[in-house]
Every structure is written in C-alpha cells, then in structure tokens.
Symmetry: C2
Subunit: 328 residues, 2 copies
C-alpha cells in the first residue's frame, strides 16, 4: 500500500511535491488543501480531491504524511504546529534564526498529537545543513563556507519588484569565482559579503520610468543590495518572459580542514548542487523525508525531528539489504 501524502498549499512548492510523488511509486497523492476556494484550484493529478484548508482536521484518517507548502514568514510558524496535532508533517521552514523556536512549537504539538514532524527540509536548510554537519564531525579543525547560486533569490526579486516604476524583475545570486577557487584550494580565506557573491538584476521598467533612479534604489537598498556589487539590466517584458521564467538555483558547501599529529595534512570536502528548478528539487527532498516520517511514526516515534535526526536509510524506498549490497 502506498504512503498517502497530503499537500497543504498549492503554489510552486505544492506543485513540486505533486510532481515528486509521481517519481516515487511507493507514494500516492491523497488530497490537496488550499485556503483559496477549492473549486478554483486545478491540480495536475487526476481524480484527487482539493479541500478547503478549514476542514483539514476532518481528513486526518486519509493522510499518512501532510506536507506544509506555505511560506516561512507567516504560514509555517502557525500551520506546522497546528497540523502536527492531527498529522505527521514535513515542512521546509527556512528562517534560520527562528528554527529553535519553531522546533519547540512543533515538538510540543507533535508529541501531544502522537505524531512525527520533520522541519526545515530542503537543500538549505536541508542537504546543505547535513553536509555542514558531516564535514564538521570529520574535520574538526577547519573552516566552513557556503556559496549560493547561480540562482534566483525570490526574496531579492520581490524587493526589486516593490520599487516604483518596476513592472517585473528577477534577481540572480552569483558566487564570485575567485573566492570559490581560494576556498577549494584550502586557503581558508576570510571573505567579506562582497567578496563571496555578486547580484545581477533583470528589470522590466514601466513605460517612461526613471531608469537611473531605479538602478540607484536597487544598488543602495539596505540589507538586500548595499553590501554587494550589483549589476542591473533593463529588458523588455518579451525578453524577460523568454529568458527569465525558470527558477534555477544551487550552491556549494565547502569545508577545508587539517589532520595529522602536527596538522600536517589538508583536506577539502565539497558538496554542490546545480538545479534547474529550486521548488522541484526542494520537493524531491521533502518527499524522501516524508517517507522517513511515515516509517518513524510507524515505529512509535513522536515529536519534532530535523534532517540531523534521521538515519539516512529511512529516506530510501529500498531495504537495508539492498542498500548495503548496491550503494555501500
């Protein structure tokens, strides 16, 4: 019997989860929950119901694991603990600074409800976090680096779109190649924000807008752009749609460190991702962890977990014997 997955929130991530289920034959989409009018939401999978999020608790017997696909700013801090009372849940909460608080809330609710909740699943937090942990446990004397990109930052694109005279915009975060090379060579450089990444914006201006003013507003925007070298390109809507509709991303987690009786040897561990679609990759990670949530709940586990707590074998549809003879 398939693991019955529910999706709460049907945006880019929800649609990504739906696609990921199609790539995992041991999973089935059981229902989609939305805060919009259910009849207005068209999903890809035939024959699967779309319900109002208001009634979610009444569907608890139909779902093995519920995937929360809302945003980290306001949705998940409320939804994940609430839903953990009724369901095993997985979310991709990514506000790093608020993880301890979110963990505590989900842990309490999941324990009270007798469920498993896995939070902050994806690639960062998620696979990048795992690689930081493994690399730190192995090379205890060393230095960590995370580079993001080349890829679309949703938050920075939104910030540019809020500027007066901007019709649409996309922002790419790009690692500085020289910095990456120094880190890879094990030089353990001290790098400023500006030395690690550059930012590139593609902006569709409204007709007659003051381009110089828009460019200036972008480049000096506090927190978002002022600490970076930023390039701004003004393009037509046609060009924008043709060349900038995708949501690629990726990045690098690198740790270099020393071993030996007198620290005489150097090592570099590097993990990197090159992703055509950020939400689809994130969803694929989430679905693997949904399998883990299902299994851990079956074994009687309850409470909040992160990727740090999950034995890797729980992610795979294959059994231990297969994994040992084919992947070890």
């Amino acid at each position: 019997m398939s693991i019955r997955i529910g999706i709460f929130g049907y945006g880019n991530l929800g649609r990504g989860v739906e696609c990921a289920i199609r790539h995992n034959p041991d999973m089935a989409l059981a229902a989609v929950f939305t805060r919009r009018a259910p009849e207005s939401v068209r999903i890809l999978t035939e024959g699967v119901p779309v319900y109002s999020a208001k009634d979610i608790a009444s569907h608890k017997e139909e779902i093995d694991v519920l995937i929360l696909c809302g945003g980290s700013a306001t949705d998940l801090p409320v939804q994940t603990p609430e839903c953990a009372r009724y369901f095993n849940v997985v979310d991709s909460f990514d506000t790093h600074a608020r993880i301890p608080e979110h963990f505590a809330n989900v842990d309490k609710a999941a324990k009270e409800g007798g469920h498993v909740g896995i939070i902050s699943v994806g690639w960062d937090p998620g696979m990048f976090s795992l690689n930081r942990l493994y690399a730190n446990a192995i090379l205890t004397d060393g230095k960590d680096y995370t580079f993001w990109g080349k890829g679309v930052s949703q938050g920075h694109s939104d910030a540019v779109r809020r500027i007066a005279g901007v019709k649409d915009a996309k922002q790419y975060t790009i690692p500085v190649p020289e910095a990456l090379e120094k880190v890879r060579a094990g030089e353990q450089p001290e790098l400023t924000t500006r030395q690690k990444h550059t930012r590139e914006c593609f902006v569709v201006p409204e007709e007659g807008a003051d381009l110089a003013r828009i460019e200036q507003e972008i480049k000096t925007m506090p927190n978002y752009f002022d600490e970076y070298d930023t390039t701004v390109h003004f393009i037509s809507m046609e060009e924008f749609k043709r060349d900038h509709s995708a949501i690629p991303h990726g990045g690098f987690v690198i740790r270099s460190g020393r071993t030996g009786w007198e620290n005489e040897n150097q090592h570099v561990i590097e993990y990197s991702l090159k992703l055509d679609s950020n939400p689809e990759f994130t969803s694929s990670v989430i679905i693997a962890y949904a399998r883990a949530a299902y299994r851990m709940a079956k074994e009687g586990n309850t409470g909040c977990k992160t990727v740090f707590d999950i034995p890797p074998a729980y992610l795979s549809a294959m059994d231990g014997e297969y994994l040992r003879s084919h992947m070890l």
Copy 2:
C-alpha cells in the same frame, strides 16, 4: 569523561586514528593492540600502553570503542566479528562484494555480545556511499557516477612492485577530465572503464632492469591495468622519495536526474573530496562514527550498523540544540 578508544593494528590507519583522537577533545586513546611484539611498537601518544593482540579480551573494561585497523582481505573478516563479542567496534571493511557476508557475521557476534559494530566506515565505502544513498533518494530518476582520484591506489602500487626488476613503485588513479565534465553537465553519458580513469605509474627500476619489459608487463596486467590507458615513468629512488611519499586521494560522487511532471527539469548533485592523506581522512571519519557507536550502545542498541543506519547528529560532539541553531 572521555570516550576511551582502543586501536587494533598500528599501521597507517592505526596511526591516523591516533592523530584523529588528538583532534577530538571528547576522546582519549586508551590502548593500542598489536600482533607484533608490543615492546617493538612505538606510538605517538605518551603514557598509553601497547598490548599484545592475544590478550585483547582481557582489556574489555578499559575500552569504550575498539577501532579495527587491519586489512579487508584477511584481517577484518576474522577480527571484527571476534572483537564485537567483547567491544563496541568500528572497522573500514572495503571489499564491496563481501559486505553482506561481513555484515551478517558482525551482526551475529555483536548481538550475542550486546555490542554495537559499525562496519565499512571511511570515504568509500563511507561518505561516498552516504552521498549515493541521499542522492538516489532525492533524484529517483537519474544516473550515478563515482570517479576516484587523483590519488594513490595501494593495491595497484603493490601489483607494480611485484613485477621483477621493480624496486619501488606508486600508482596514481586519475579521473578523465572530459568524462567528469560530461557528467557534471548532466549529459548522463555511458562511460567505459577506459573513458573514466587513466593510470599513472612512477617506477624505480633495479639497476640494469629491462625497462621496456617492465612497462609492457604493467600495461597488460589483467584486471589491474589492461582496461586502462596507463602511463609509466621510470625515476630514481631519490626522486621517488622526494615526490611520491605522500598518500593523497579523493574523488567525486555525482548523480544527475530529472524532476517535473514530464521530466522537464534536470539537477546535478556532486560530492567531492581532495585529501592530502587517505588514511588520516579515513581515520577522521572512523572516529566520528566511534562517537556514534558509543552513544548508540549507551542507548541499548546492539548489532551491526553501517553509515546508512546512523542519525547524522550522533557523529557530532555538539548537542541537538547547538546543531539546530548553528548548522541547520
């Protein structure tokens, strides 16, 4: 109190474990066991006893985790199960084809003895295996590639040294850059053995040896060299000692795969290692898993485990709260 580590076998790997303990303040070397005359073995750590391997069982109260540092061909298949009766053990058994059998033997002994045994720990098997598993669980529709090097293959170096007229030799395995690039670009090429790696040998010939014959014997050696493009360099002992004393290694695990409703998006996951010292890095991985063995045993676990079974957090000296706020 420190985790008390025992080392069984004091070669390159045993010495690496000794060094790794020095980089982990929650660990202490308790004893070294050797099959040689104990008084003939000089170790780096002051004040730590060297015992005869014959008496190992009598020291079981002094050791929390015993690290088996022998070879996979004949030592570990016997030693790891034997020692798992008396100790929590970690080994780096790396004969991939015999892992299921070794697992069964260690599992039986460890369960009977009430201990935890973690086998096949290192980088391949070990970190590379983990990355294969994670990447396969995420990108279910894709293709795996493992490249080794640039690095010293001990087995191939030994094979060259056995040829008549060879005084000393070192063999480097080198990934073919073009193959690596194709894989990284997500092309999912079919690659023959010859297309993936080249082999480079540095040979110190005995005086008057027939160099052409040696080169021919190397290049045509079945299993070891005949399926590869091999380069042979004859050098002096002086040059050999100056330039080829280290034991570097490394490699790449890459999986590319597709997601999306119609497989429309492509992703590449890459994990790579660049190691100055193969045995010291392997030892550093082993010591992190020794911490996990200690913790799992404390919690009442018994039996054989692999890297697939260990929650990542168990490897770190930091607690869950610290890990969540600093690495997630």
